[in-house]
Every structure is written in C-alpha cells, then in structure tokens.
C-alpha cells in the first residue's frame, strides 16, 4: 500500500524542509487573501497530496495523490483572481498537468497489466517482459517532465507560477516540481530497472537545453515571479543533467560514477528547493508591499526591507552557483560527473558531453547576470515608484518564514556531508552502490569520484572568506578613516529615480546578442519638438519577448488540431451513417494497434492490417467522390 524506503523518506524530508518555513510565511500572508477558508483547505490538501505521492506504494494511490496534487494546486492558482490572465494561466496549467497525467495513466495501465493495486516490484517484472521499453520510457518522461517543466514541456511554468499567491508559488516551484523528480527516480529504478544508453543521452540533452532556455528567458523577463519561474526551468535542467549522466554511466556499467551523478542530481534537487522557495518568498514580500510584479517599479527596497533583502541576496548568491554556497556545491558535482566522462569510449557520447559542459557553464554565467539584475534593480538604487517609496518590512510571520528558509539554505551548505550521506543512502537503496566514504573521506572536503578529479571544501572556503574579509575590515577600523555623506555625482544633475538603469536596459546587451532567439517586439514612441529627431518631450520604450516554443510548438499544435477537427466536422457532421463509420474505423484502428503494440510485431500482419484499414476508411467513411 505504502512504501517507506530511503528514497520516500528522503523526499518526505524534502517536503518537510520546504513546508515548515512556508507555513509561517503562509499564515503571515493570510490576511491578504480574500477567500481564507477556501485557500486553507486547498493549501493543506496540496501538502498532504505531495506527501501522499512520495509514499504511495501502488499505481492507484500514486495516481490518486498525483491528480489531487494537480487539482489542488490548480485551485490554489485560482484563489486570488486578478483578471482574465489568472484564469487563462490556470486553464493552461490544468491542460498541461492532465496532458502529463494521461501519459502516466497509459504507463501504469501497461506496467500493471490492468491491475492498479500491485506493488512496484510486481510491475518491474511486467515491464521487463514488455516488448518496447522505449515507449514506456517516453511515457514516463512525457508524464513526469511536463510536471517538472523541462523543455519542451515547460511553457506553463512562467504563466502558472506568477498567477498563484506567493506562498503557493514557493511551494509549487520549490517542492511540487521535485515530486516529479521523485517520480523519475522511482519509475526508472524500480519499474524500468535497466535502461538504454540513448535514454540517458536524451535526458542529458533535455537538461542542457532546459538550463539554457530557462536562463535566457529569465533574463528577458520583467515580471519578477515569471523570472523566477523561468529559473526553475533552468534548475530542473541542471538536475536532469546530473540525472542523465547517472543514467549514461549506469548503462555503461560504471556504478560509482553513476551514483555520484545521481547524488549530484539529488543534492541540486534539495538546493533548488531551498533557494527557490526563499526567492519566491522574498518576491512575494516585495510584491505584497509594492502591489506590483513589475521589476521596473521597485528600487531601493533594501533600506526599508532589510531582512527580505539580505535573505534574497543569500538565495541569489546560491542560485548563481557562487562559492561557497550550496548551489555551487551541487553544480560542482554535476560538473565533475560531466568531466568524468573522459573514460567513455563512444565518440558520439564524447562529443555530446563538451556541449553539455558548455551549456552548464554558460548557464552559470547568465544566471549571475540575471541575479545581479534582479537584486540590483529590486533592492538597490532609488525607488522607482511611489509604492516602492512607502514600502516597509513585512510582518513577523512572513519574516520568520524567510529566516527559517535561509537557515535551510545555510544548513545545506554547512552540513553538506550529512545531507550527502542521506542522498547516498537513498541511491544505495535503489542501485546498491555506496560512495559516501569515497567522496567524503573527512567532513572537510568533498572529493570527486573520478581519477585525479577535483576536490572542494565548502567549510574551508567559507572560513577563509570570513577570515580574509574580517582582516580587511580590521585594517579599515585601525586606519580610523573619516566618512562623509554626499550626493551621488551625476554630471552636475541630481541623481533621480528616472535616471537610473532599468531592468530592460540592464538586460539590453544580452537581449541584443541573443536577438535570434528572443525576436523581441520593441515599441518606441516619442513626442518630438517641432520635428527635431533628437529633441523630444516624452518617450516610451518597451520590449516584449514571446517564448519561441510557445509560438511554434503550442500555437502550431492548436492550429493543427483546429484543422483536423474542422476536417472531421465537414466529413461527418449531420451524417449519422458516416458518424457510425467513423466510430467503427476508430475501434478497428485501436484494436489493430493494440495487437501490434502488445503482441509480436511482424511486417506481414502490419501490411495486411493497413490494407484493411485503408479499404474500410475509403469505403465506409470517404465514400465516392461527390
């Protein structure tokens, strides 16, 4: 019925770490939610369902809790309706999550042979006898990664996360996406068991592309919550890169390297939970104080909201993978497992891996640029709107939530050996290989598993940084230097809020460099004085970037569906005999494909069945040409 092995308990722990600070924050946020009872019921049902998914021991319970998780989060998005965009976002989310659910259902119907009550162990033997394991794998990744938000199933994230109330965005991005990662571990290890090397490569490439696409769209975003949602795509990409390397190594029979990569993926899962929840909480506090999600309206908030600002700074440093934070440690592990690939023989694989290293490194660089933009525009400089001027620190409970979450971030950095021991235990339960003693010979330094690999010691780095900074500060104190306060020099003018750099301007060079990807829609209007081109009273500039994937894949799919349904409509509308014929043909094709799918495949029967299908369609459905 339920499973409580190391992996389940590990993810219960993740949910606990993510939920406890969120509870404080959520109760602090509650006065601003209109439908309180509605919100609370769905909030707690959401948390329960997430815990339910990770302990579910059979398909029925898994699907039940999975669907409950989707539905409650969908309702939570709708708990604060701010106009049509919220409803549209919720509808998009509803569609995407059920798109994934359908594939999970198909997966389970195949691996359970129709009996949804059997355990994962029994499913494994059925799955092993199934003729086309790759189809099962595709069902798994379509079902789970559409929830996790990997490219190309990521399009709902930047709509759904901003629409939800902030504590819920923190939970959805911090914890719910990780439940999909849990599913990846559970299904691939416990149900599919062995896997082909191509699957790992596919996951690795999806991860590399997700991380780049996520960070690039994050940079072009002005809506703070949509920006953070895009960063979730990036981090899911990094997790998948670790996961994909683990799968590649495992299918090449390199158990130690594979365990190392899986541990890296799990570590990044935890890290992303911690800092992304913290970032969403900080964004929520700012949003709550200023009443807008537009970054161009913030500025100077560090003076009025110091606790929000400094916890946000901690999370920004961590998500940018700067040493010695926890985000750095897990990205370091992913890097090391990518580099361990030099022992692989296959040349194509060897070519795929420098590309991934490059993608991860570029992602790191762009993430730094992005978080300088977020923190700098949001908290530094002068206030850019009246609301930002009158902002003040949020209430005690919300502060408590943010402080607790930053403690989680710090403890993931300080107690990395302890956490890695947990991850190692979970991986040991799945694959049977333990590597803890090799990567942590002592608690000071984290070793890479490959030969002549690198070593990093988070504690020593942290202590050394503190010591050096303290020494410099002591020098400063001992010099006894006078200080004077004066205005910023702005070429003889006053420094005004409007003369500062904006978020759009900050990302300008990068947007211009990646024009081919963004294809930005720029609107530039100015009111000129007596037809002088350069003299104007008033000017406005705005940029809008529409995601490429949405335009091509999603809107294309909608158009195609419309065309097909129009064709069907023309064919069979108001013609009962044709309608019946259509149903008959559909049944026939399902029966044929089921036979091919489940039983043995042979070209002769395929040809025969195709002929039967074509004749049946021609005779019954299309008829003679009119």
């Amino acid at each position: 019925m339920f499973v409580f092995d190391n992996l389940s308990i590990l993810f219960l722990f993740l949910i606990l770490l993510g939920v406890v600070p969120n509870l404080f924050y959520s109760f602090g946020y509650l006065p601003h939610i209109k439908r309180k009872a509605y919100y609370l019921i769905h909030y707690f049902a959401f948390i329960t369902s997430m815990a339910g998914v990770v302990v579910a021991g059979n398909a029925l319970l898994f699907l039940f809790f999975w669907e409950l998780m989707s539905l409650t989060s969908w309702q939570l998005i709708l708990s604060d309706i701010e106009g049509k965009s919220t409803i549209k976002a919720a509808r998009f989310y509803f569609f995407m999550t059920h798109f994934g659910f359908m594939f999970l259902l198909l997966f389970f119907l195949i691996v359970t042979d129709g009996d949804l009550g059997i355990s994962f162990l029994e499913m494994k033997s059925i799955a092993a006898n199934f003729a086309y394991p790759s189809i099962l794998f595709f069902f798994v990744i379509l079902g789970l990664l559409s929830k996790a938000g990997a490219v190309p199933m990521h399009v709902w994230l930047p709509y759904a996360h901003p629409a939800a109330p902030s504590p819920v965005s923190a939970l959805m991005s911090g914890v719910m996406l990780k439940i999909a990662i849990y599913g990846m571990f559970r299904f691939l290890f416990d149900i599919l068991g062995t896997w082909q090397v191509e699957w790992g490569v596919l996951i690795l490439i999806m991860g590399a592309i997700s991380s780049l696409i996520g960070v690039l769209y994050a940079l072009s975003e002005h809506d703070i919550k949509a920006l953070l949602a895009n960063h979730s795509i990036e981090n899911i990409g990094i997790i998948l890169m670790g996961f994909g390397m683990g799968m590649i190594f495992s299918s090449l029979h390199l158990p130690k390297l594979s365990s190392f990569a899986f541990v890296a993926a799990l570590f990044h899962t935890f890290n992303h939970m911690s800092f992304k929840s913290l970032l969403f909480m900080g964004a929520g506090s700012v949003l709550h104080q200023t009443g807008t999600k537009n970054m161009e309206k913030y500025g100077g908030l560090i003076k009025s909201m110091p606790i929000t600002a400094f916890t946000f700074l901690l999370a920004s440093i961590s998500i940018s993978a700067l040493p010695p934070t926890n985000g750095f440690l897990s990205e370091w592990m992913v890097f090391q497992s990518l580099l361990a690939s030099s022992s692989i023989d296959s040349v194509t694989l060897k070519l795929a891996i420098p590309f991934s290293i490059f993608a991860l490194a570029l992602t790191g660089g762009l993430a730094i640029a992005c978080f300088v933009k977020v923190f700098g525009i949001e908290f530094l400089g002068l206030h850019r709107s009246v609301n930002a001027k009158h902002a003040h620190e949020v209430n005690g409970l919300m502060k408590m939530g943010m402080i607790l979450m930053s403690l989680v971030v710090v403890s993931l950095m300080l107690f990395a050996p302890f956490f890695i021991k947990l991850f190692d235990g979970a991986i040991k339960g799945l694959s049977g290989t333990t590597i803890y003693t090799q990567i942590f010979p002592n608690i000071w330094s984290l070793h890479s598993i490959n030969n002549n690999g690198g070593v990093v010691s988070p504690l020593i780095l942290l202590i050394a940084l503190i010591v050096i900074t303290a020494a410099l500060y002591l020098v400063f104190r001992s010099l006894n230097i006078k200080q004077r306060v004066f205005h910023t020099w702005a070429c003889g003018y006053n420094a005004t809020p409007r003369s500062q750099y904006s978020a759009t301007g900050f990302a300008g060079p990068i947007r211009r460099f990646f024009t081919w990807l963004y294809d930005p829609k720029e609107h530039f209007e100015k009111e000129v004085i007596s037809e002088h081109k350069t003299k104007f009273i008033d000017a406005s500039f705005s940029v809008h970037v529409e995601p490429l994937f949405q335009r091509f894949i999603y809107e294309g799919a909608v158009k195609l569906t419309n065309k097909i349904s129009y064709f069907v409509y023309r064919l069979a509308h108001f013609e009962q005999s044709r309608y019946a014929a259509m149903i008959f043909n559909m049944l026939l094709s399902i029966l044929f494909s089921y036979r091919i799918f489940v039983h043995q495949f042979s070209w002769a029967t395929l040809a025969l069945e195709s002929v039967v299908m074509i004749i049946s369609v021609k005779v019954l459905l299309l008829g003679e040409k009119r």
Partner: protein, 306 residues
C-alpha cells in the same frame, strides 16, 4: 610552507607594479612622458589617507561589497600553481572553484555599480554582466581542457604536472587553449580591445563606471582587487601555458616566474598600443573566438586525443 606564504605576499606586493609597468610602457610607446613604475604604490597610499565619501543614495551594500570584491581574489591567490617545484601548494582546487571565486568578486562589483543610483553605475554593471557571462564558459572550458591534458583536474597539481611532462602529444589542444586563455586574460581584466582602463568616457567605460562613486579606502580595495585579478590571470597563464623553470633553484625559479609575469604584461601593453577598443557589440565576436577555441581545445583533446 614559508615559501608558499612568501610567494603569496610577493604576488600581492608585485601586483600594483605590474599594472604600473603596463601603463609606463604604453606611455613610452606613445611618445608620452612615462609615469613612474611605482605610481601604483603612490596611488594606494594616497587613497588610504583620504576620507571616504559615501553617496546618500547608497545602502549597506556599498559598505559590504568592496571587501567581498577583494577577499575572494585574495583567497584565489592561495590556490594558484606553485612557482618552484619544491614549494608547498594547494593541489586540489579545480577550475570551477577558481572561476566561481572570481565570479563572486565580479558579482559584488556589479551590485556596487547598481547601488549608487547613478546611470553610470548601471551602465557599467550591465556591460560587465554581459561580458562576464560570455567569459565564464570559455574560462571553465579552457581551464578544464588544460587540466585534463595535465591529467589532473586540480589546477595547482596541473601546473606542476605540465612542467614535468609537457603535453607534446596534445599540442593542438594546448595551443587552442592558450589562445583562448590569453583572450580571456585581456577581457576579464578590462584591457583595451574590450574595455579601456584609462578613460572616463561613458561610451567606453565598463569597469571604471561601476566604481565611479567610490573613494578613499573602498576605492583602494577595488583598485588592489583589479591589480590582483591581473596577477591571478597572469600567473595562471605563466604556470599553465609557459610551464618551464620550475626545477631551477628556488631563487632562480622565482626570478623566472617574475620575468614571465612581466613578459605577459609586455604582451598586453603591446596589444593595447596596437589595437583600438572594440564597440561593445563587437566584443562578443572576440569572446566568441575564445569560446570556440576553448571548445575546440576540449573536443580535440576528447575526441582526437591530440
């Protein structure tokens, strides 16, 4: 151990001299009256005695960031490859950590630019964010490919291994990596084709724009950070791409090392005199070359083993 500490102190002490040397050489080549080679020290001591003017618009970040710009770079000095083969060194720190520490310093420098609410600061930060985002992948790929040629991912150990077994069999990827790293040295330190360290003109500024509102002790911290950053890159280039002279007696080895540093400074000065500064949107082309070379280096090493 004493040699290790002494070498770090020597590098800190030498770093203003190297930058002054570049400036002096450039002025000499341009038929100007050259500044003294000790100008760096004079500026530093003068800055220490001045008062600090804090801008009214800034926040606590201005008081925190200058320390955090300098301290990661100082920490990086401890992880560099050894200068002579008998010396103590930290063998295990890899390229990702070193790049990370340098990025940490850049991160706070960029925040400093945005803190003073002036349009110059934002301009500098925005450009620096753009450039450093493109530098980072090239830097990581280059250092990794060199350290894989040296058969050890730790940069310190890699420097030593290279001096013992020069990778003649991987010459192609070694040269690719060398070209890429030299471009990065120029780009990361804000030298001429990428950024002009001497002007205060808004069209050309990157690094200078971010620190326009600093003065006194804080400016001294930032200035020494930029000279130490040059020292880090120069010594990485010296140890990884000019790996000879480590087996000489200690004093000679140190002498050779200093000569190598000044040789690199000489190359940079010649480059600066002979090229014009690139427009900001031409800079990605240069960095693109660095990225392509580092990529090529890794791929030739990985796939061809050459």
């Amino acid at each position: 151990m004493i040699l290790y500490i002494a070498m770090i102190l020597l590098m800190i002490l030498l770093s203003p001299l190297v930058l002054s040397f570049i400036k002096m050489l450039k002025m000499f080549l341009l038929y100007k009256k050259p500044i003294s080679i000790f100008q760096g020290y004079r500026d530093f001591s003068k800055l220490l005695s001045k008062e600090i003017i804090i801008s009214k618009e800034t926040s606590q970040i201005t008081h925190i960031a200058p320390y955090l710009v300098l301290s990661p770079l100082l920490l990086t000095l401890f992880f560099l490859p050894p200068v002579s083969s008998g010396e103590y060194y930290v063998s295990f720190v890899d390229a990702f950590t070193i790049t990370g520490l340098i990025s940490l310093s850049t991160f706070f420098l960029m925040l400093l630019g945005l803190d003073s609410a002036s349009s110059f600061g934002g301009l500098g930060s925005s450009r620096e964010a753009f450039i450093s985002a493109l530098v980072e992948p090239a830097m990581i790929l280059t250092l990794f490919s060199v350290s894989m040629m040296a058969n050890n991912l730790g940069v310190g150990q890699a420097g030593l291994n290279l001096s013992k077994h020069f990778p003649y069999e991987h010459m192609a990827s070694f040269i690719f990596a060398g070209i890429s790293f030299f471009i990065l040295l120029v780009a990361e330190n804000g030298r001429i084709p990428v950024d002009n360290p001497e002007t205060h003109l808004e069209l050309t500024m990157v690094h200078e724009a971010m620190i326009l509102d600093l003065s006194g002790f804080y400016l001294a911290l930032i200035e020494s950070a930029s000279s130490i950053k040059f020292m880090i890159f120069a010594s990485l280039f010296a140890s990884l791409f000019l790996p000879f002279g480590l087996d000489l007696p200690v004093v000679l080895a140190i002498g050779v090392f200093i000569l190598k540093i000044f040789f690199i400074a000489f190359l940079v000065a010649i480059l600066e005199v002979n090229t014009a500064k690139l427009r900001l949107f031409k800079v990605p082309n240069l960095l693109g070359i660095a990225i392509v070379f580092s990529f090529l280096s890794l791929i030739t090493f990985y796939v061809l083993g050459a």
